[in-house]
């Protein structure tokens, strides 16, 4: 089953809303249980995706909190999607026939996990539309860690988001979300060798963060055309989505766009949603040291940003002809 994605609106998260299912994370970041603790009755069913290998920093605190709040724990791994599907199957049986309402806290998810959740949502195996509110809780500002930590991965965020093309000869274009990791965005561009690049630079979390992003991308910024840099407010993800989606739509007409979402997780979510909407033509990559280096703890700043979406059962599947029509016209001799 394939679902079409509609991104509808954003706003401050309304904690008095009630959902059928809330998907949270049990990880090392203090903020990973922030929403769960703030809104104990948020949903009929509550699930935490568990990173067992992250049992340090605030992990035990989060584990105790989520256990007390009776969260079902699902280990992140190959059977996680199946287990989530089983949970949603139970909800499907227990609720009246209407669209299911889900909330997903992406704040402490890794980019690959957000990717897996988005991919799963696009194929939830029930005959109902699913309305999903993604929630992002920015963290209190922390200085960037050692800028010399080695990079462990430069690859598609998951194999699914490697994308596919019927025109491998088309040029690659890159769209970056900027973060405060020193020169990583620049390095990603050098690695991918795109013919042209665009950047989305975040603001609105913390002035110190804005400055750190600027510092970390100084060399990149001097080389990008100003018209190809867009400053987005992390508290207004819908506006950012509109711009990102229209940019990607344009680029996909004559290139193979690759999205590389550094920076706030909300941008990674937007990148994955846009890539899913234009699947399989858009690739989403990550360049990080997360397999080697441990990040520090993160505490929620208090802001709770919501992005409202719908994953609607598709009645008009993308036809092969439509995909083929995106191929460059070959002028016949």
């Amino acid at each position: 089953m394939r679902r079409d994605i509609a991104v509808l609106s954003d706003g401050a998260f309304n904690g008095s809303d009630r959902f059928d299912l809330f998907i949270s994370v049990l990880g090392y970041e203090h903020r990973s249980s922030h929403l769960a603790r703030s809104y104990p009755e948020l949903a009929y069913r509550r699930v935490a995706l568990v990173f067992p290998q992250e049992a340090y920093a605030s992990y035990e605190f989060n584990q105790a909190a989520l256990t007390k709040l009776r969260y079902s724990m699902i280990a992140v791994g190959s059977s996680a999607a199946e287990k989530l599907s089983a949970v949603i199957g139970e909800i499907h049986e227990a609720t009246p026939p209407r669209a299911l309402r889900l909330a997903v806290d992406i704040s402490s998810m890794s980019r690959p996990l957000i990717a897996l959740v988005v991919q799963w949502l696009q194929s939830v195996p029930i005959e109902r539309d699913v309305h999903v509110t993604f929630v992002y809780c920015p963290a209190v500002y922390v200085e960037p860690s050692d800028d010399r930590a080695p990079v462990a991965v430069s690859e598609p965020v998951t194999p699914h988001f490697a994308g596919w093309t019927i025109a491998p000869e088309l040029p690659v274009t890159a769209v970056l979300g900027l973060g405060y990791e020193f020169s990583l965005a620049l390095g990603a561009l050098e690695f991918l060798e795109p013919v042209a690049a665009w950047a989305f630079s975040p603001t609105g979390e913390d002035v110190r963060y804005d400055k750190a992003v600027k510092r970390a991308n100084e060399v990149l910024n001097t080389n990008l055309l100003p018209s190809r840099t867009y400053i987005y407010n992390v508290r207004e993800p819908f506006d950012c989505y509109i711009r990102l989606e229209s940019l990607i739509y344009g680029l996909a007409q004559h290139s193979r766009p690759v999205l590389v979402p550094f920076g706030p997780k909300i941008f990674a979510l937007l990148a994955l949603l846009v890539a899913s909407i234009h699947s399989p033509r858009i690739a989403v990559w990550r360049v990080s040291g997360e397999a080697v280096a441990r990040s520090g703890d993160r505490v929620a700043s208090g802001a709770e940003i919501a992005l409202h979406t719908e994953f609607v059962i598709s009645h008009s599947k993308v036809s092969d002809d439509e995909f083929l029509s995106q191929a460059p016209v070959f002028s016949e001799a």
Binding site: Q53, R148, P150, V151, A152, S154, P156, T158, P159, A162, G163, W164, T165, I166, A167, P168, E169, P171, V172, S183, L184, L186, G187, E190, F191, L192, E193, P194, V195, A196, A197, W198, V219, T222, N223, L224, L225, S227, R228, T229, L247, G250, L251, H254, R256, P280, A283, W285, V287, G289, A291, V292, R294, L324, A327, V329, F330, S331, E332, A333
Partner: protein
Amino acid sequence: MNVAAPNVPNVFDTFNARNLDPLQVAQTFIPPRHFDELILRNHAIVVGPRGSGKTTLLKMLQIPALKEWQHERADEYRSTIDFVGVFVAADVSWGAQLSALGGHTLREDVQHILGHAAFVTHILMALVRGMGDVLDPDLRSHPTLGRLAAHISAGAQAELINELAEAWHLEPRLPTISSLVGALRGRLLEISHIANQICLGARHDELFANNSFLFLGAIESVSFGVDQFNAASGQPYRKWGLLFDELEIAPKGIRQSLLSALRSTNQNILFKLSMSPYNEDAELLESSIAAMPGQDFQPIELWYARKEQGYEFSRALIKSMCAELGIEADPEEIFGHSYVTIEDATTAVRISAYRPGTALHRRFTELAARDPSFRDYLKSNSVDLAKMHLMGEAERAGAVRKITSIVALREAYRSLSDALVGSAARSRKNPSLFAGYEALLAIVEGNPRWLIGLIGPLLRRYASKPKRVPRPVQARAVSTASNRFRALLRTIPYIPDQELDAKHRQGSSRGLLSLLDVIGERFHRNVVSDSFAAEPVLSFTVDANAPENLLQALGKALNAGAIILVPDSAAEPMASSLRGKRFRLSYMLAPHFGLPLLLGRATSLNKILSSPQGETPLFDQGRAQ
């Protein structure tokens, strides 16, 4: 935000040619000496690090690029080339897509079959586009390329398309070239559908049995196409050059087929392959070459162990860039001379530069005043600073001239270190150290991407304000280019030791860049802090017992252009093993580390890594002088 067509590169984008179309590549192409070798009617393997121009060279062999090329020698080349270039593009994104087919849930053999089929389809699309190039009626009237044109009547063309379609298991909607390409695109789509179906539980053996196109061989399919086209066009001996960019991105089965095909294959097909220097196929290549009758194979190396080897090409490219910008001044006028960075025993320096009162003399004097080991050097070589200009030519060359750049660098950093220490001193680089035309030439290493990225903006500045580009501006541009290269090196994954747990790896990690930093910083200390050496250690030899993970890291550094192979007399085109080989750091990293742009002496890599803080001399005292 401007969603301009991406085929209009901006300043940033001109760094690479990978994604430029043939016409754009032709606009700025300056033929390096390697191009003369590449156009010959033989198989060739172009070996070079990133940015060394492999893609550009191959793309220039396509007919659309050759047609548009404006260069004083363009007609000469066009008259010589007697094959039709078929460019098979590759990039990391396409490579990742091939690897990710089926989302890593497929069995390895199943995944290989699908990846192989996708790449064969990609090759056939390139071949059909090449056929379209020679059928272009405009080509017939081209004065030097017209002989490569083909004419096939509409009926014969339809018959050809039908034959190709049947052999390649395609069903184009019309018997035309464009429909054939369309059918091949449809096949790529079909392959992804098959992968998805298998992921969802379909039996792969049934799907494979119903889709026999999955098992088309690359070489056989291309050979058939070439033979049929040649027969249809009445030119049975027409040559086709298959230009494979970044061969390492192709699936392993394809790589093996191509390397084996170098030995014996269709006489009408030439293979021109581009690869990185450190490659897992090196052994296979060596065995293929060893078995080749007549040695009809040309290795083409796109790097320069000694900086002067790259100057001719770099000068020609700069001249072309100047002409494009309407600049008539010589580069020496635009950038001034580099007065410290490249002087060595073979570089001519005016005798008057050694007289008391000159900048050069002042540097020697100041260093002698603060550096006892330098005074020892002068004494043991009988150099009287007041009379350097009066020394015999040979004597001065042997004892003074060859150390001028080392003296300048040592003196500059030592004076800085009075106030600052270590990396802080290095970060406050003397802006004049890495400025000047000769320094810029050395730093770009004959690498067109680096040259365009570093010197292009400076030339544009000169074009808008025709005054010598100030040295601090040049130094900033050099620093930016160097940092940019370091940013790339940071993104190259390298996990030091898989057996260590995450916590330990983090603590003891030596990612690619940090490994290079250890080497560069140790070299810097040898130049600046250790006892004065007329020929400091600026290169290293990989020890026979170097661990595998270190070799992997060095291989990545070599492919990225961060270290340069200094070949011995029996140089290999590709390095099957790095053990025992000698390397220097790229001069693009020299400004960051504060190193002279010299080859220097070599020491063991083990010695560098085992004494990163410099407790152990890099050479025994007796050998250092």
